[in-house]
Subunit: 251 residues, 4 copies
């Protein structure tokens, strides 16, 4: 990724002091690390917005894990962040990855003429046949619209990343809702999956963006825990209830 | 840190879709998470530059750890990033924290008139008496100057963060060099420690910035490992040599 | 630690197949790893009992962390165990280490004649002067006696490890209780700290025993979570309450 | 898993002080945690032997990761163990799990009459058709025989766990070797996978046993690193070579 001599430090072929510091923001630097090139203005705005979307989701399992870990090892906050990241696997961060992969496999060449409506029907039908959730579709709270999605798509239009993948995921959402008869909004991970495809980024990058963004958010949670602790109270309550539940003669 | 209802998502008192997405870059979002407020233009530039400095240092122990972990569990890249972060403790990331703390304790009120030269002498003398390295001073490769430092200080002047703490750390460096008779450059962690103090940020924040920045860099290393693997070869060589070393009759 | 050729595997100088497998139990193997020698019958019984004591403490922060991590990444249970271990720092496992260190420093040579009562007074007075808790003393639930302690001391007598360190920690406990006027039982970490000293094991080993023992317990929690999930419900409840707490107009 | 009151601590329905401490060794306690019952004498011997087999494999990626992590954060050895565990995923520990699963699916009811030779042929043919390695078969160093395997099978006979699964995995090994024309020994993970099936333990338990056993070994590596450091030298050499490799004008 980089090399250095006594008087030089080079990252991805660029001189760190003169070509990077003060010129790239943290999201741009992430883009450089992931792609090997610096982003255009549009790429910078879009990539930063996607990463920022994934920083903070309130009291997630990751945040609880980081806070509970910090409670036992306040001298090692890096390990509390690490513990929080360990759970960003198939269930939570997986849906961005899954959505991007699904769209890219359905439409390997966005320039080619395709019947997007037929593609959307096929995608939904296949997931129903396998009894799988369509990645990027549905949200327990944000109904009928996930408020991040219209804003992300607005930015995508502004930055020139609103093409067939964005169209396709919206058709998939409409079809999933039609077939199920339930309110199934497109969620933020679905929008980000589609925009990643528009930007020509590999679906493998999706999980990485979620992981780095969440590291930012977890540092925030740990600092908040150091100022306004909540982990100990959470632990005591859960322990008390669990003990009530298993102790004989108390059921 | 945040809350949400069916149609709203609020982070640190700001509406995520309308007030954050497309307006804050990833470094600004980190600043918001750490301080509870959005950065000014100067704070944004300076904070992003400091975070970017800490993203990537080539083949560090952290990067080796992340790659070796990915080798065994490629299906769980989040755990490879987590493993890499676990080593960001007292030895590596600690020096930024230690430098900021040392400067803040020496000069709790930057506005008050103080004899900075006398302070610098006192700091160096105390560390020598305790046989401790002065945090932020010295570098094994970047001699006589760490090339990141002049650039960080140039940005600090531009952004209005070049005051007594920056002056003091430079006096400390000169004094440490004078007393030891060796080349002891100010390193990037020392410059960042001083600038954090100039910005009025707590020294406790220092480790957190290092941890989030390195998470970005480790995702980069893992993607590179997935394209150009090096971890297996490293493992085989170290194992072979270690085995040669301990096997009887082979010494 | 070990080496292997095509037809041999040697660990700590012993042939694994013929000298270890079927002869050492898991606790004995841990003893071999930590000390470089196989335990005597008494050492085996005592060391296994201490490790077993530390395996399982019900719904600890570690157990909650492991379960919440497994919820997000069920395909990577090793990372859920890892996350759970990250919090075994100064606050929880630290007390065994701290107790063993305190006793060893107070009494470097157990054979030498010493006034143990005076030593106990000195230890308690010093901790009071520094406003520190005496490690190994006190328990929020197990009052007036931690039920593990009499059993561990009974085993220590049986196995020949009941000498001056065990006597000293009991004097410390009595003195701490006398001076504070509160019920301050000796807890299991205090008993284990004292017995480690009796066995001639380094205090540095203490944290390691806690970490390996808890890894066993966390695997148990994760398997239980896979059969009788509780993490999701914990998360939903904590999230709901936290949201109620911060949402405007809901306080 | 357990509960406690002021004067009692109960784990898995057993009184910890009187029914567990001094009676169960660490492997037995693990068996209790995983199955909810205490092992018979044969189960104890066999289970401990399997766990002990997985403790230590010399300079593995896990051991390197733990040592490199300890180098940066010596104050947090629990995080170094955690980092080492993070890589015990599909590639290394996965083969025990995969072997046990494969055998159980091929032979769900070991008591039923089956043509084991035909089953072995089918298993090998299916893996060849999918271009997959048969889990538990093959070893880079231990040829023609993994020295742990005959000893594990000897113990299995002694303890009453040598039935159709052990027979089947040996037939699979012979068939794989016959069809490939190469030396493909049965390895320790294959033997353990088969014995787990003989013992009636779920294949899901396999990874857990590997994780807890390796935690024991990693604590050993970290203590060795604290006495005879090797991680820094490994890092310096790898970094130097990597830098030589990427610096321009040096290729």
């Amino acid at each position: 990724m980089g090399w250095s001599t006594a008087d030089r430090i080079v990252v991805r072929g660029r001189d760190l002091p003169s070509a990077i510091l003060g010129k790239l923001n943290l999201g741009d630097m992430a883009f450089l690390e992931l792609t090997g090139r610096t982003p255009s203005a549009g790429e910078s705005k879009m990539f930063n917005a996607m990463a920022v979307t994934l920083v903070e989701h309130g009291v997630t399992p990751s945040a609880l894990v980081a806070r509970l870990t910090y409670l036992g090892a306040p001298e090692a906050m890096q390990a509390a962040v690490a513990a929080g990241l360990c759970g960003l696997g198939s269930v939570f961060v997986g849906s961005t990855e899954g959505c991007a992969k699904m769209l890219k496999e359905a439409l390997p060449e966005p320039g080619v003429k395709s019947d997007l409506t037929a593609l959307a029907r096929k995608i939904v039908a296949e997931h129903r046949a396998r009894k799988q959730i369509v990645p990027g579709i549905g949200h327990p709270i944000h109904k009928p619209v996930d408020p991040r999605v219209p804003r992300l798509f607005e930015l995508a239009r502004e930055c020139g990343f609103s093409g067939k993948y964005v169209e396709l995921i919206q058709l998939v959402q409409a079809e999933a809702e039609r077939v199920s008869g339930k309110s199934l909004p497109l969620n933020a991970t679905g929008a980000i999956g589609a925009i990643l495809c528009e930007m020509g980024l590999e679906w493998r990058i999706a999980r990485g963006i979620g992981v780095m963004a969440r590291a930012v958010g977890l540092v925030g949670h740990i600092l908040e825990e150091s100022r306004e602790p909540m982990a100990q109270e959470v632990w005591f309550r859960i322990e008390e209830e669990a003990t009530e539940h298993v102790k004989p003669g108390k059921r």
